[in-house]
Structures are given as C-alpha cells and as structure tokens.
C-alpha cells in the first residue's frame, strides 16, 4: 500500500506543472522565415461553399502567376479570431488577412496591418470614397471592403402561408405590425414561433439609429453613443416580443446563440422570421429548402426612411504589417478586388462588390437569390443613411456580450434596468482600454 503515497507526493509537483500548461501566456516563438519568396498565406472564415469558391480563385491566380503560391487558411468565425490573435502575437500572421468591422480597428490601431494606400501593386482608384472610408484608421486605409451588406428581416414565406399570415409590405410596416405578426404565427403554428428576437449588435444598432443614436460614440472615443433610455427600451421591446408569445423560448434563444449557423432557430424552421445580413439569403434558402424572402426592418413610424438601415462592409481584405511579401500580397489583393475572374467566382458571397465594375461584371452570372440580394440593396439605397464607422478598439466581443445580457433578461435573471446599466458599463470597460 505504501507505494501509493510516494507517487502521490511527486504527483503534487508534477500536477502543479501541468496546471501551468494552461498559462500559455507566452506562445510567441516562430516567425515568418520565408523572406519575400512569393509564397503567400491567405486567411478567411466561412462555410464550405465559400471555401470551395475561394480555392478556385486561388487556383486561377496561381496559374496566372508562375512561381507564386497561395496557401489558404480558413475556419469558422469564432475560431478564426482566436487563431489570428495567436499567430499575430507570434509574428506569424498570414500575409493577406480577411478582416471584420469588429476587429479592424483593433488590428490597425495596434500596428498589425499595412496602410493599403502605400502599396504600389494595389489599385484603389475604382473604389468609391465611401467604401474606402469604411476601412480608414487615422490617415490610412487598412482594409478594403469586399462588398456591401445590409441587416434585414428574413421571412419564411412557406411558414407564413401555413399560418395564414400575409407577408407585410416592408416599406410601410411598423414595430406594432411586427409584434402582431410574430404573435399570430406562434399562435397559429404552435411548434413554430414568430421570430428569433433579433438580438445581435446589428439589431441594437438599428434600434438606436431609429432613435438617432449610435452604439459607439464617434466624438468621444471609449464611450457608448446612446442614452440609457434607448437601450432600456430595446430590452423592453424584446420582452414585449416574449410576453406576447411571438418569440422562441429563452432556452431556445440561448441554445441557438451557442451553436452554429445551421443550428440556429430560423434555418431550422423553428421561427418564421429571422434577423440576418443580406448576403445570407442564399445560405438560408439552402438550409431551409423553403421560399425565403428578404424584407426591410420595421420602423416606428411606418416610413421606410426612418428604419435606420445601413450598409456595412461585409468583410475587408487586409495585408499584414508582418508580411515579408507585401508586394506580392498587394498584387493578390488587387486580383481579388479588381479582376472580374475573381469576382465571378466570389459573386455576392462576400457582399455585393463595392467596386462598381466588378458589380457589373458579375450581374449576368447571378442566380435568382443572388439577384434578389443585389436588387434589394439597390432598392433601399435612397433610404439608407450614413454607415457607422468600424467598431472601436476593444469591441471585438461586444456582440457576445450583448447576446449574454439578452439571455439574462429573457430568463428574468436581470431586469431591463439592471441589464442596461451593466451592459453599458461592460461595453465601456472594453472600449475605453483601447
């Protein structure tokens, strides 16, 4: 029996060491050793169809450019940022990086990206100034918009028909219409709820914009751009949806928030309405196999000009400041942004191209749902107001934070007042550190 006591003692020391396997504070070795040899690394996030299309684009580029290789590195959205943070910290970031509006300021502001206006091989002249502004940090442009998107309400026309509810006229519908439709669908279909609530940062932005406010203050960096009453009314609006029976259960909401796109409530037909970005129409049709339509968001007044919708850069192309291959990287981004051969493979998967020539080049190639997205974005153009600037430094996980508070409110763990106060404090804590 004695023999167990000794291992137990040495075990203490050994296990203490194991604990520190966790404290991977410094995993910063390695580095980009290949100096300017034309071997590029290119990273992006997304789903399978995007991976396939992007690989085809890479193949075309490689066959046009003898001696250049492009290695793709891709993952899902949340894993993508963990990996990018660690590779960047290890000075081993990919040469060409796909960026998101939530992180571009973080990376640009901390010197991890290159000012694209200084790259000779990259022609930015075809891009409208407004599109370039979306990637601007101080005096430089650190990300090139891949295309435009708008946040919208997706409706499942088949479920609407089953519930005997007519699809509303989205140029005049109000929040009251939205509440009523949600509740009626839940009542008529039983298993299917009216809406998935719409509780991401995009939804909150829309709500605030309808009240002439913003999520982040652009005049006073490090503070939020809204008054407490408007965040409070947003939480109350979500509770109203819940209490009138129009939404999924709180448990279904949090379960979907922790899952993948395919497992969310709208793609799995648990709701008849869902809040999504316009470029997701095709993926939603594929996931449901149903007739999915895209609608403007409701407004308080029933006047579409007051609905607060805006264009967002779907993604950005960025070049790493750590790259030894900046000339080659710039040439590759130039191909992605200005060559019809690339645009025709990409189509509207990364948003409707911000370069008008590319938008025109892909027009004949679009299928019906892609065509729908393009015309939807054209239709709303007279109504959309200025785009918000990219999120400030530190805002990378604000979306998850908002969803967490919505969960707390839907479960009645927090009152809307408490959630308003705590969420604001938490967001300011994140963005003031930058």
């Amino acid at each position: 029996m004695k023999k167990f006591s000794r291992p137990a003692r040495t075990l203490t020391a050994a296990s203490l060491a194991v604990v520190l396997g966790l404290s991977m504070g410094a995993c910063g070795n390695g580095g980009s050793e290949s100096a300017g040899d034309g071997n590029l690394r290119f990273s992006w996030w997304g789903s399978d169809p995007r991976h396939e299309a992007t690989q085809e684009i890479i193949d075309i580029y490689e066959s046009n450019n003898e001696g250049v290789t492009v290695a793709g590195e891709f993952s899902d959205f949340s894993g993508y940022w963990d990996k990018l943070a660690t590779t960047t910290a290890g000075r081993d970031a990919p040469d060409v990086i796909t960026m998101d509006e939530k992180y571009i300021m973080e990376y640009a502001g901390r010197g991890a990206l290159t000012d694209l206006t200084e790259l000779e091989n990259l022609d930015l002249s075809k891009f409208p100034e407004a599109a370039l502004d979306l990637g601007r940090y101080e005096d430089g442009v650190y990300g090139l918009s891949t295309g435009q998107n708008a946040y919208s309400v997706m409706v499942n026309a088949d479920l609407f028909a089953e519930a005997g509810v007519e699809i509303p006229d989205d140029s005049t519908w109000t929040w009251d219409d939205y509440y009523e439709i949600s509740a009626t669908i839940s009542e008529n279909l039983g298993e299917v709820a009216g809406t998935d609530y719409g509780a991401l940062d995009g939804d909150l932005r829309i709500w605030l914009r309808q009240n002439d406010e913003k999520l982040y203050s652009e005049d006073e960096p490090g503070t939020v751009g809204y008054s407490q009453e408007n965040l409070l009314s947003w939480f109350e609006h979500l509770l109203h949806v819940r209490d009138t029976g129009g939404g999924v259960s709180a448990a279904q909401f949090t379960e979907a928030a922790a899952g993948t796109f395919e497992a969310e409530n709208f793609p799995t037909k648990k709701t008849a309405m869902g809040w999504y970005w316009s470029n997701q129409l095709g993926a939603l049709r594929a996931a449901t196999g149903d007739d999915i339509r895209i609608l403007r968001v409701p407004s308080p007044s029933g006047n579409a000009e007051d609905n607060g919708m805006y264009y967002k850069a779907s993604m950005y192309w960025s070049v790493s400041s750590q790259s030894d291959n900046q000339a080659a990287a710039a040439d590759f981004v130039n191909f992605l942004a200005n060559d019809p051969a690339a645009a025709e493979k990409m189509l509207v998967d990364r948003g409707v191209p911000a370069n008008p020539e590319m938008a025109a080049a892909i027009e004949p190639k679009l299928d019906e749902s892609q065509q729908t997205v393009v015309s939807f974005l054209e239709e709303i153009e007279p109504e959309v107001s200025d785009s918000p600037k990219p999120s400030p430094i530190g805002a990378g996980t604000v979306q998850e934070t908002i969803v967490r508070y919505v969960g707390e409110v839907l479960f009645d763990n927090l009152t809307p007042e408490e959630a308003t106060e705590q969420l604001t404090a938490e967001i300011e804590g994140m963005i003031s550190a930058g």
Binding site: S78, T254, G396
Partner: protein, 314 residues
C-alpha cells in the same frame, strides 16, 4: 539530482556518501541524462519557459499585438472588482465540490462490483474505462449538446413517458448540472485505480473477519475502507486538480460563451475569453497564476488533512 544519484548508485554504496565515479559509472550517468533528455527539453521549453513568461506577463498590460507594458500589480488588483471573474470562481468551485465526490463514489461502487471476480471482468473494465478516455474530447462534448438539447435524446425519452422536457443545456439552472453529469460519467480512471487498490488488500483479513462472523458491510467499513484510504486520497487529489482545470466540456457545450447567462463560465473559460477574445493576455496570465495558487492551496490542504484520515498499512 538526488533522484539521479539514487538511480545510478542503486546497486552499490549506501547513499549520501560522495565518492569518485568510475568511468563506467560516469558513462552510465551520461546515458541516463540522454534518456531523460526528451523529458527535460520538454519541461524547459513547454513548461518552465511559458510559466516564467506568463508570470512576467501577469504583471503587464499585454494585448498580444504590441509589446507588453509593465503595470505592476494592476492585473491582480483588478480581479477584486471583476464580478464576472468572481462568478466564474463560484461556478468552478460548485462544479469541483459536487462532481468530484459524486464521481469518486460512482468509481468506488463500480470497482467494488467488478472486484467480485465476475466473468468477463477485463471486458467490463474496458467498457467502463472508455468514457474516461473520451470524456474530455470535443466529440463527446458535441454529443452532450445533442443529448441534452431541447429536441435531444433525454427529452425524447421523457416524452415517451409523457413528461415535457426542457432545454437542459440552454437553461441557466440546469446547464452546469449537465456538465457535472458528464464529469461523473468519466469515472473510469479512478475506478481502475480503485480496482488495483482493492486487489492489494490481503484476502486473509477478509477470511479472518468472515470466521469471526463479520457481515459484508462490517468487512467494508473496517477492512476495505481504511485500507483503501491512500487510494481514495490519491484519486481525490488527482480529480480535484483535474476538475479545476476543466475547459473543453464547457467550451464546446456552451459554444465558447460560458452561457447560458454565464452559468457554465468556468474559470479557465473566462481566462481564455479574456486572453484570446478581449486581448487581455496580461490579465489572463494573472488569472492563470491565481488558478495555480488555488489548486496548490487545495492540494496542500488535502495533504495536511490526509494525516487524520489516510491510513498507511505498514
């Protein structure tokens, strides 16, 4: 060093005495280092190096992208005001104190049953050990999501008997419970150790007890339990350390969020979010050291307390 001397000097002189090594012995010592080399290199590069670096980083503001800036004790002081951190400690403690005892009880119960020399023992032993190998894996955590999901297996079974289920992993009041069940289910590793311990108890004790007319229960409480205390202690220390470090299950089951409503926000998961999500790697490093201290303290307390209840039969 003493361990090395012990090894090379095993067969001859009494230990502790210094004397010149013969050429053969010196060669032997060299060879022993050679065999140790992979482990030593691993220890230096994979463990000691990052440990030292993280200790340094814990006193800095480090956002991963820019060089760290020395901030002294700021990170440690910040923990006192961080309510989410305190909540994550609460979640972790609850998880450790509920799931570890339950897991050990399950392991011991199964070991006692298997110890009765049933047919096909090695088969059952393997079957029950399997969850231990799989339990920490991503695949099982994904499976767990499915089983306890709103339309998952558990709810379908409940529906058969007319009970309406609930969103087990989506409801803040039950989500942590599902993770505890997952941990209890991986009782195989302590069970195998219990089995080995049971086998070491000399059968003559039981024979003598049986002759004196002691019941099975009495035999368990006066023979098995006391003689098994070193094993129980070993398993307890090991499982507590393991449970404090749990990460994968909560990460996968909650999709990395620690949700619903932070109810599965383990300390390690919050550390991960701070370091890789919010770019607060200095703060995350300080958290890692806090966890080290907590685990060290618990292990220490365990060893102190063991003097009163662990019985060594020699």
């Amino acid at each position: 060093m003493s361990a090395l001397n012990e090894m090379s000097g095993l067969k001859k002189e009494p230990r502790g005495k210094k004397r010149k090594l013969t050429a053969a012995e010196r060669k032997e010592e060299l060879v022993s280092y050679l065999f140790l080399a992979p482990w030593l290199v691993g220890l230096a590069i994979i463990t000691i190096g990052p440990m030292a670096a993280s200790l340094y980083l814990s006193f800095t503001d480090y956002n991963l992208l820019q060089p760290p800036e020395w901030t002294g004790l700021d990170n440690y002081l910040r923990m006192f005001e961080d309510t989410r951190l305190q909540n994550s400690l609460g979640v972790t403690f609850l998880y450790v104190f509920v799931s570890v005892p339950l897991q050990l009880i399950a392991a011991l119960a199964l070991a006692l049953i298997l110890d009765r020399g049933m047919r096909g023992l090695s088969f059952y032993r393997s079957v029950y050990y399997l969850p231990s190998l799989l339990g920490g894996s991503v695949a099982i955590a994904v499976l767990w999501r499915q089983i306890f999901g709103t339309s998952g297996l558990i709810n379908q079974l409940l529906a058969l008997v007319g009970i309406e289920g609930m969103g087990w992993i989506a409801d803040p009041s039950t989500a942590l419970g599902t993770l505890m069940v997952l941990n209890v289910w991986t009782f195989g590793a302590p069970m195998v150790i219990f089995l080995a311990g049971l086998r070491q108890i000399p059968t003559m004790y039981y024979e003598a007890a049986a002759m004196d007319g002691a019941s099975k229960v009495r035999q368990f409480t006066t023979i098995t339990a006391p003689l098994l205390t070193p094993i129980i202690f070993f398993n307890l220390v090991l499982q507590i350390i393991g449970a404090f470090q749990s990460f994968t299950q909560a990460f996968v089951v909650s999709g990395g969020t620690g949700g619903p409503a932070d109810s599965t926000m383990f300390f390690t998961l919050y550390l991960y979010q701070q370091g890789f999500g919010n770019f607060n790697m200095g703060y995350a490093s300080a958290m890692a050291w806090l966890l080290l201290l907590i685990i060290a303290a618990f292990t220490f307390i365990n060893f102190i307390a063991s003097k009163w209840w662990v019985f060594y039969d020699d």
